[in-house]
């Protein structure tokens, strides 16, 4: 009986403890769905792309934008800025050299604390780029180019709770599976462990 218990606890550990412990590997989350890119626009010269968004999570830690940089031809400076109603909050200077073609470029910065519910403005520009070797920015419907806003989780408990809630929601969402599967598992449990005699 001891072997059975050890084996069972080992696998329950894998099944329930590992998913919870694995949440420690999560440093950022996003609530946004991927935008469907419907057009590409060149970012060059005096052109500045601007978009507003409302923060719906914890501290904002990075923002993802889709770029095309064919053959990584663009090697000019790129300026990223995020501001609120009071002024600039974070700004990043980077270069086309680090932007891969067709990639989601993540602009990471020191998390903006207490950002939930606030309105922010993201703007990007690349003044030195010309139309010939410009970066192209992916736009979705409604002139949206910010693909994803990433947030730093408020705490690990929040993530564990999210995992647990998602799991429960999915488990109960399929009534057929829930009934049959639960019945099989409980029957096997009862068969194996009933009556249980623990050795001293």
């Amino acid at each position: 009986m001891k072997i059975k218990l050890y084996a069972l606890f080992a696998f329950l550990f894998i099944l329930f403890i590992v998913p919870l412990v694995a949440t420690f590997s999560i440093r950022e989350i996003s609530f946004d769905k991927n935008i469907d890119i419907i057009r590409l626009e060149k970012l060059s010269g005096e052109k500045v792309f601007v978009q507003n968004f409302i923060s719906d999570g914890g501290p904002i830690s990075s923002i993802g934008i889709n770029f095309r940089n064919f053959n990584q031809i663009n090697k000019k400076d790129l300026y990223f800025k995020i501001s609120d109603q009071k002024g600039n909050v974070r700004e990043i200077f980077t270069n086309g050299v680090v932007i891969k073609d067709g990639s989601l470029m993540r602009f990471k910065f020191t998390p903006i604390l207490s950002s939930k519910g606030d309105i922010y403005t993201v703007s990007i520009s690349s003044q030195d780029s010309t139309d010939v070797e410009s970066l192209e920015v992916g736009f979705g419907e409604g002139d949206v180019f910010v693909n994803k806003v990433f947030y730093r989780p408020e705490n690990k408990y929040f993530l564990m709770k999210t995992v647990w809630n998602d799991f429960m929601e999915r488990y109960f969402s399929d009534a057929w599976f829930f009934r049959i599967y639960t019945l099989i598992i409980i029957s096997l449990f009862v068969y194996i462990f009933w009556p249980m005699k623990l050795q001293k």
């Binding site: 059975k4 696998f11 998913p19 590997s25 995992v163 399929d174 599976f177």
Partner: protein, 424 residues
């Protein structure tokens, strides 16, 4: 039932009854525990391969027989654009199973298979699909446990093999977490081995050919089978049986698409991809050197067939950039070795652990936290083990060190196997 009994009677050349073949060497409750553990894992872990090859096999229900042509011709309009890299029987088996299981899978199943949005697990029914799709693996997995017992005479060794197979975490992870369809050719390769033990080389060759018709890897065992024969007649019988059956299965699927998909992927290319440059574009391939060398050693020595298969696979897996699912190929032979040779147990555990650790370090979410996606979508945002290691050490160097260790431990195991020990 009568036909099955006759088949088993012929198979074992004894008057075995079904009851004696499937006689449990452990208590029924312990066996039920092995089933319970598997069932607890089946619906909740996901590797993308199970969705891909089941999506591709789902076209059988629509009457598509040549999946290789179909996937190439319709690549633009299909949501999952991968090619079908398995051999035809995998497609036939999975397609047929889906047809049989379709009343249980429900109407939304096909739409779920084709959902490439990355949010398929937010749909109701995901757990059901994973459970049903993995259910055949459970059957083959348990059958392997019974088959392994047939390779031992002593009851205690039969029991050990049975327990080691059913309760080792490695095969459970490979089959039910990584959703490994290779369990079918693995079982057929084992049947081939049992036939060899019973000196029925034709049936052994048929089983091996069927295994290769699911996935090509068992073809590496054919040279071992051939060179151990004493007469040209037997060599011809084995070779002809293997080739004829395989060709007959492949013919209906043969096309340029089949050749490109099935022969240009996995083992067939990776085996020849590593090399040491001699200059002027010429390379020598360590895998070819060691495999041919071992075949010679096998011919000259008194290795048993299963030992030969084990060493051949450990050479291949140690010398190529393997997919984690390939580790299942060696698992039954590793269990045989674990039972028979105490002196290699520690080395074997070490080799297995390192062999598991290497793919986890790849820059691929599906090899680590991505397996937990059925629990919650937030695992998409997990930091990869690769990136975690990167903070302290060069992950590529770590993979290189681990792979080098894998090779050296494989050599140690080879030498330890030669040390004589009281056998069964």
């Amino acid at each position: 039932m009568k036909i099955m009994r006759q088949w088993f009677t012929r198979f074992y050349k004894h008057n075995y009854t079904m009851k004696s073949i499937f006689k449990l060497p452990i208590s029924k409750k312990l066996f039920a525990l092995a089933i319970l553990i598997r069932m607890l894992i089946m619906p909740f872990f996901f590797h993308p391969d199970i969705k891909t090859y089941n999506f591709q096999s789902s076209f059988m229900k629509k009457g598509v027989l040549n999946i290789y042509n179909y996937l190439i011709d319709h690549k633009q309009e299909l949501p999952l654009k991968e090619e079908f890299v398995y051999f035809p029987l995998t497609y036939v088996f999975l397609g047929s199973y889906q047809i049989i299981a379709s009343p249980l899978l429900g109407n939304d199943y096909i739409s779920w298979l084709g959902d490439a949005s990355g949010r398929a697990f937010e749909r109701a029914g995901s757990y059901r699909y994973l459970f049903i799709l993995k259910f055949p693996y459970l059957v083959f997995d348990v059958l392997i446990a019974f088959l392994l017992m047939q390779l031992f005479k002593k009851r205690i060794n039969q029991k050990r093999a049975f327990i080691y197979w059913l309760f080792n975490p490695f095969t459970i992870i490979l089959v039910y977490i990584f959703s490994n369809v290779d369990i079918i050719p693995v079982m057929l390769a084992l049947i081939s081995l049992i036939y060899i033990k019973k000196n029925n080389i034709v049936r052994s060759s048929i089983a091996l050919s069927l295994a290769a018709a699911f996935k090509i890897y068992p073809i590496v065992f054919l040279p071992l089978l051939v060179i151990k024969q004493k007469t040209i007649k037997y060599i011809l019988i084995i070779s002809m049986t293997f080739v004829t059956l395989l060709v007959l299965i492949i013919i209906p699927f043969w096309s340029e698409s089949f050749r490109l998909s099935a022969f240009s992927s996995g083992l067939s290319t990776r085996l020849f991809s590593s090399g040491i440059s001699l200059g002027f574009g010429e390379i020598v391939m360590p895998s070819v050197i060691f495999i041919s060398l071992f075949i010679y050693v096998f011919y000259k020595s008194k290795y048993e067939m299963w030992e030969g298969c084990f060493v051949l696979l450990i050479i291949i897996l140690s010398l190529v950039h393997y997919h984690i699912q390939w580790l299942l190929w060696i698992a039954p032979f590793a269990v045989l070795l674990f039972v028979r040779k105490r002196n290699v147990r520690l080395l074997l555990l070490l080799w297995s652990t390192i062999a598991f650790a290497i793919p986890v370090l790849y820059e691929d979410l599906a090899m680590s936290f991505g397996l937990l996606l059925p629990f919650s979508r937030i695992y998409v945002f997990s930091t990869l083990p690769f990136s975690i290691v990167q903070r302290f050490f060069d992950p590529y160097m770590l993979i290189g060190i681990l792979h080098s260790l894998l090779i050296s431990i494989a050599i140690m195991i080879f030498f330890e196997m030669r040390i004589k020990e009281a056998r069964e």
